[in-house]
């Protein structure tokens, strides 16, 4: 049982975001967390690498409780559990290659020169080798997202968290990103945790789906189970209908 969330509570001020959520993510699966905007999907995965701390509850990664670790003790956790942020968050002051080389230089003791060579190889894996010397500001959103994925993969993590990987991308870039994620799970056995509300991604690459609604886990299951559910709220979300019982 690689990733376990147990009874997670989190509030920002008076605003309760997560009100007791439990689920388990299995090794090597492509797990989607879905829900309406503001349902606490991103908040959920940021807890896993200690960017946020739960008010109550426990999170286990490989059997180790990570939610109470100090910032310093979290570094090994973050090396095996990478994250791709919603806005890519590439460092504007560096070229793409330097962005990808940074974790190598900081964590593997390689020189800047060696790291940059390795970074170019990583960029080639996401078909971005031609843009190695470009700055992030010169790239489109889809390209930035691919560089961010390359950067997240440099340390060969066992888990990768994706925060809305296809939001704000054009349909072609979005499907390419989906393909990258599926390849990770299938060929490298990396556990992918994806926060998304892109219905196409959900039904094309998810192994299992968890839906958050009003701070609780509304439903957990496979895409087929989600399609055939009788829960009116889940049905409304999965069909993208404007009218229905769902409150936003």
């Amino acid at each position: 049982m690689p990733i376990v969330f147990e009874n997670i509570h989190k509030a920002f001020g008076d605003k309760v975001i997560l009100d007791g959520v439990d689920f388990t993510i299995e090794d090597g699966e492509c797990f989607f967390i879905v829900g309406a905007s503001g349902a606490g999907k991103s908040v959920m995965i940021k807890h896993l690498i200690g960017l946020l701390r739960p008010d109550q509850g426990e999170i286990y990664l490989d059997g180790e409780e990570v939610s109470r670790l100090s910032e310093h003790a979290l570094y090994p956790v973050r090396k095996k559990c990478a994250m791709v942020f919603q806005n890519a968050t590439l460092f504007d002051s560096m070229t793409c290659a330097e962005n990808v080389a940074l974790p190598l230089r900081k964590h593997t003791g390689r020189s800047q020169r060696e790291s940059l060579v390795a970074a170019r190889e990583r960029l080639a894996q996401v078909h971005m080798e031609d843009f190695a010397d470009s700055y992030p500001a010169e790239l489109g959103d889809g390209m930035k997202k691919r560089v961010a994925i390359a950067r997240a993969l440099t340390l060969d993590p066992r888990y990768v968290l994706f925060d809305e990987p296809t939001t704000s991308l054009d349909p072609v870039s979005a499907r390419r990103t989906d393909a990258v994620i599926r390849t990770l799970a299938d060929e490298l056995g990396v556990t992918c945790v994806v926060v998304s509300h892109d219905l196409v991604s959900i039904f094309s690459i998810a192994d299992r789906i968890a839906m958050l609604y009003k701070g609780h886990l509304r439903m957990l299951g496979t895409p087929t189970e989600f399609q055939n559910t009788s829960d009116p709220i889940v049905r409304q979300f999965m069909r993208g209908e404007a009218e229905g019982p769902m409150e936003v």
Partner: protein, 271 residues
């Protein structure tokens, strides 16, 4: 792509072009500032303005900087009195003219020039950050859509408020500098209050020169910062850049204006 980054580095066609580029940019910049000043003065002369906005800006620019300015100028008065007393003791042991000389220099120059630097930081950064945030969140375009002229609506009240209240704050802060200098002179060098508080060297010309400087500096702060704010582009980074350019631009303008006004003062306002 390597070509693109290479052209980013050498941005001019020739060495001469590269050397002249900042000069022509500077000339354009100054022309833009004078255009904005012209627009602002024209709108003021036409006489219709937002009373509420003006009072609010006077409060923000004047009252809210008063404590900060009194603290900084209080320290300045103490430092300068201390240093000039220590140094003049090396030449002549008599400190009776310490206060008179200091007060003359303060009235003629330092209350305006040394005071305007922190004022530029405080007021200039505030104006640029506020207007800049409105630009990047499209509020200025929304103003235009409501047929409100951003210069009339945003710049004019800040310009009037900064010129009037800034000058007033500088005068008060200058008085605080005299008081703090007096306390140091008395506490450290045993100069009594009466001897220190000697205005005999201050002429009407000195007062005129000092106030002219204050008004000029405050007007420069307002116009430069408003222009930097209005020309903001590009999200949160843009607001930061605009604020930086406002502080540096107004501080530098104060130093250059001080050079010219002091130079003219030396020839035309004898002391």
């Amino acid at each position: 792509m390597t070509e693109a980054s290479a052209t980013l580095v050498d941005s001019g066609p020739s060495a001469l072009g590269r050397l002249m580029a900042p000069v022509s940019a500077g000339v354009n910049d100054i022309a833009g500032l004078f255009r904005l000043l012209g627009r602002t003065l024209t709108l003021i002369s036409q006489g219709k303005r937002e009373q509420g906005a003006l009072l609010e800006q006077m409060y923000i620019i004047g009252n809210r900087s008063l404590v900060f300015m009194c603290i900084t100028m209080g320290f300045i008065g103490a430092i300068i009195t201390f240093q000039s007393a220590v140094q003049s003791q090396r030449l002549l042991p008599d400190l009776t003219m310490l206060g008179a000389t200091f007060i003359k220099l303060l009235v003629r120059d330092m209350a305006a020039s040394l005071g305007a630097m922190p004022l530029a930081t405080r007021v200039g950064a505030g104006i640029a950050a506020e207007i800049g945030s409105m630009v990047v969140t499209d509020q200025v375009d929304a103003l235009r859509m409501c047929a409100a002229d951003p210069v009339d609506y945003l710049v004019v009240p800040r310009f009037i408020a900064a010129t009037i209240m800034g000058t007033a704050v500088l005068i008060i802060a200058g008085a605080v500098a005299i008081l703090s200098g007096m306390v140091i002179a008395n506490g450290v060098f045993d100069v009594n209050f009466h001897t220190y508080l000697n205005f005999s060297m201050v002429t009407l010309g000195d007062v005129g020169l000092g106030v002219t400087k204050m008004v000029a500096f405050c007007a420069a702060i307002a116009i430069i910062s408003a222009q930097r704010g209005l020309s903001t582009f590009g999200g949160s980074e843009g607001v930061g850049t605009a604020t930086t350019r406002a502080v540096v631009g107004s501080s530098f303008a104060i130093i250059v204006l001080n050079f010219f006004i002091s130079g003219l003062g030396y020839f035309f306002v004898p002391s």
